[in-house]
Structure formats: C-alpha cells, structure tokens
C-alpha cells in the first residue's frame, strides 16, 4: 500500500492538472460565446444573399453561369476540410478527419481524383502521418477568420472550378446548429445549387442594371459567404468541443481527488493506529 506521503503528492499533482483544465474550460467558454456571436452576425447577410438569388432566379427560367456548370463525368473534386490548430478538444478534429478520409476514399473508388485543401495544423499532421497528399494548407486562421481570408479561399475554389480544373468543390467542417448540436457535414459548395422558390414581391421589382448581371454578381458572393460561414461554424464548434472536453477532464480530476483523499485518510489513520498499537505494546513490555 502507498504511503500517505506518496498519495499526497499524487493528489497535489491531480489538483494542478485540474487547475489547468478548469482554466482552459473558462477560456473556451468565453471564446465560444464570441465565436457563436460571429456566427449569428453573419446570418442576416447570408440570408439576404440567398433570398435575393432565389427571388431573382424564380423570375428567370434558364439561369446559366459557369458556377452552375454540372459536369457529366466529374474527373476531379476539391475537398476543403476545416480542423483546428490545437488539440484538447475532444473528438472535434478526429471527426472531421474521419469524414475527410471517408470522402477521399469514396471519390477514389468512383474514379474521381480528390484534391485536398486543409485548414488547421491537426489536419496537416494527420495527412502527413497517413501519407495522404494535400495541395494546400492554411494554418494562419486559428479561430478568428476574417471575411477577407475566407474570400481568398472561395475565390481560389471558384477559379479552379470555372477553368475546369475541378468539377466540384466540397466543404468538410463541423457545422454549428445550436449550442447543443454540432455535427460534421459534407457540404457541396460548387456547382452551386439553389432553389428558385422565392415568393417575390407583390409588384415586380425594378432591377438595375439587369437580372443577369445581378445574378452573376450574387453567385460568387453566395459562395464567399458560405465559405466564410463554414469557417465561423468550425470555430464556434471547436470552442464548444473544447469546453466540453475540458469540463469532463475537470470533473474526472475532481472525482480522482475525492477518491484519493479517502485513500489518503485511510492510510494516515492506519499509520496512527499502528503507531498507537506499537506504543501500547511497548508500554506493556515495560511493566
């Protein structure tokens, strides 16, 4: 049996760990609030772009645009996966990477060549380890992506698609549905599809300069905002996952401390009892 001193050292070490996980939990909580605020702040813009696109398209029967091109026999597809730069976020990174590998294998088995763009150190390390080649990596975002940064990625994806270098673009990231639900999703970014189901206004719109021009200006913006939102969602989900992981770690540290304190007290009591017994038997021997 461990001596009381050994148990005490162990308790102190677990207490230190708990301090760290508790701090990380608090930091993640604060960060997740901010990240969720950013998700909500992007919503009005995204909604309006979609709404305008849909109501414009409902008046136009044949909308043709390079971004809507559907390849009959796709040869290459671009996969954009979003993970974090840091770990200690529970299953957050692994889930995205699992979905990425699944999509990668599936496209390969269908004879379509997947091209990978990845964000986050975790994805880079994983792919290097698995010896899966990737074309590009983004490590500079951390959890504060700006619209301009997302715009660059979206623009690159659109260029590849428009020039026929890839026939599809898919985003793999953790979507933030609400505070309780975040799920990894594979979202087709290109070719863009939208339903022309807008209700439209009571009176017809005055449209300047022309519906075609507006649609072709709206389409790339729609791609950009979807990409931006994917990054915002991923950032919010990351912080929430980390908060939960750290809360669990803190809780199990507390349980361990409780258990070990009990052990420590027992060991201490056993020692005291033993010493008393020794003293008594010593006294008896002197009689």
């Amino acid at each position: 049996m461990a001596t009381p001193k050994e148990i005490k050292t162990r308790i102190d070490s677990v207490k230190n760990t708990r301090k760290i996980t508790k701090t990380m939990e608090l930091v993640a909580t604060a960060k997740s609030k901010k990240a969720v605020d950013r998700v909500h702040a992007s919503q009005p813009y995204a909604d309006k772009v979609t709404e305008m696109l849909e109501s414009l398209a409902s008046g136009q029967l044949d909308v043709s645009h390079p971004l809507l091109r559907k390849a009959e026999k796709p040869k290459k597809v671009l996969l954009i996966a979003i993970t974090a730069n840091r770990g200690l976020a529970g299953p957050y990174n692994t889930n995205v990477l699992k979905a990425l590998v699944a999509a990668y294998e599936e496209y390969k088995s269908r004879g379509i060549e997947p091209v990978l763009y990845v964000a986050g150190k975790k994805a880079v390390n994983f792919l290097r380890f698995q010896k899966i080649p990737f074309e590009r990596s983004y490590l500079e975002f951390d959890d504060r992506v700006t619209f301009a940064q997302a715009e660059v990625i979206a623009q690159e994806a659109m260029d590849l698609f428009e020039y026929g270098k890839v026939d599809g673009v898919e985003l793999i990231y953790t979507r933030y549905f609400n505070a309780g639900t975040q799920k990894v999703v594979n979202r087709a970014l290109l070719p863009l599809s939208f339903s022309a189901k807008g209700k439209g206004p009571a009176a017809p719109y005055i449209i300047e300069p022309s519906p075609e021009k507006l649609i072709s200006a709206l389409l790339p913006r729609s791609i950009k905002i979807v990409t931006f939102q994917a990054f915002l969602d991923a950032a919010a989900s990351e912080q929430i996952a980390r908060r939960i992981a750290m809360k669990n770690a803190t809780d199990s540290a507390s349980d361990m401390i409780k258990e070990m304190t009990l052990k420590y007290n027992r060991a201490r009591q056993a020692k005291v009892t033993q010493e008393i017994a020794e003293i008594i038997s010593g006294v008896d021997a002197l009689k």
């Binding site: 950013r38 702040a41 992007s42 009005p44 813009y45 995204a46 309006k48 772009v49 305008m52 414009l56 645009h65 390079p66 700006t146 619209f147 715009e151 206004p201 009571a202 009176a203 017809p204 719109y205 005055i206 449209i207 300047e208 300069p209 021009k213 507006l214 072709s216 200006a217 709206l218 790339p220 913006r221 950009k224 905002i225 931006f228």
Partner: protein, 137 residues
C-alpha cells in the same frame, strides 16, 4: 413617413433603424430612396450610403454590394464598410498597378476585374481625403 433601413456586412449589422431619406451609389448612377418606394433590386458601386433621419445624417463608405427595397424596407448588403484609417495607400496603389490586364474570356471575368479596379480606386480616393469631410465611418 419613414422607411426602415438596415445595412449589413458578412461581419456585422452596420446600421439598423428608421430613416427619412437614403441616397445610394447605384451602378447606373446614384439614386435616392424615400418611404413608399417601389420594389427595387440594384447593384451598388463602391461609394457612399447616406442615411438621413430628421436633422441627423449618417454616412457610410461601402464596398460594392446590393440594395433591395421591399415593403418599405431597405436592405443594403455590402461586403465591407471602408475604414479610411485602415487603408494602406501604398499597398493599394501597388495592387492597382500590378493588376493582371491580360485578355480574358467571358464578360463575368471582365466585370469582376472592373469591379476590383473600381474598389481599389475608391479606396485610394478615400485615403487621399477627397471625401473625408462626409465620411464618418
């Protein structure tokens, strides 16, 4: 009579409230919107959106975007609001000078290029202070 106005960017709601009169930098020329305006969808050039309520007047320098009027609501969606203090004049000038001017195929590409040029020129114009007296944002 007033019209409800909201100006949104991907990051934030820049303005939200009632206004008597709003002037907008339409692609076919600047135009104004009063309460009761007919439904409208317009493309916006980089420029100034001025929101007038009573005696107060807010001015926003916006990048290109769209304006929609519908049921006495005016929604302006722009990719960004220009902050003159954050523009790097030298970098903007360089970017403008180094823009790829080789021939491209397709109107969309040409439009996108013109749009980009407009934006860069507009930023330079802002920095040079030509409009600093009206730009509060």
């Amino acid at each position: 009579m007033s019209i409800h106005v909201s100006i949104v960017t991907p990051d934030q709601k820049v303005f939200h409230g009632e206004a008597d009169y709003v002037s907008l930098p339409g692609s076919e020329g600047s135009f104004g919107v009063l309460s009761g305006h007919a439904p409208l969808l317009s493309y916006l050039r980089p420029g100034f959106v001025e929101v007038q309520t009573g005696d107060s007047k807010h001015s926003f320098t916006v990048e290109s975007g769209f304006a929609e009027v519908r049921d006495n609501n005016l929604t302006v969606i722009v990719e960004g609001v220009v902050d003159a203090s954050k523009i790097d004049a030298e970098a903007t000038r360089k970017e403008l000078a180094s823009m790829d001017m080789s021939p491209v195929n397709g109107d969309d590409k040409i439009d996108a290029r013109i749009e980009k040029q407009d934006l860069l020129r507009f930023r330079l114009q802002i920095v040079s202070g030509a409009h600093s007296t009206t730009a509060h944002h």
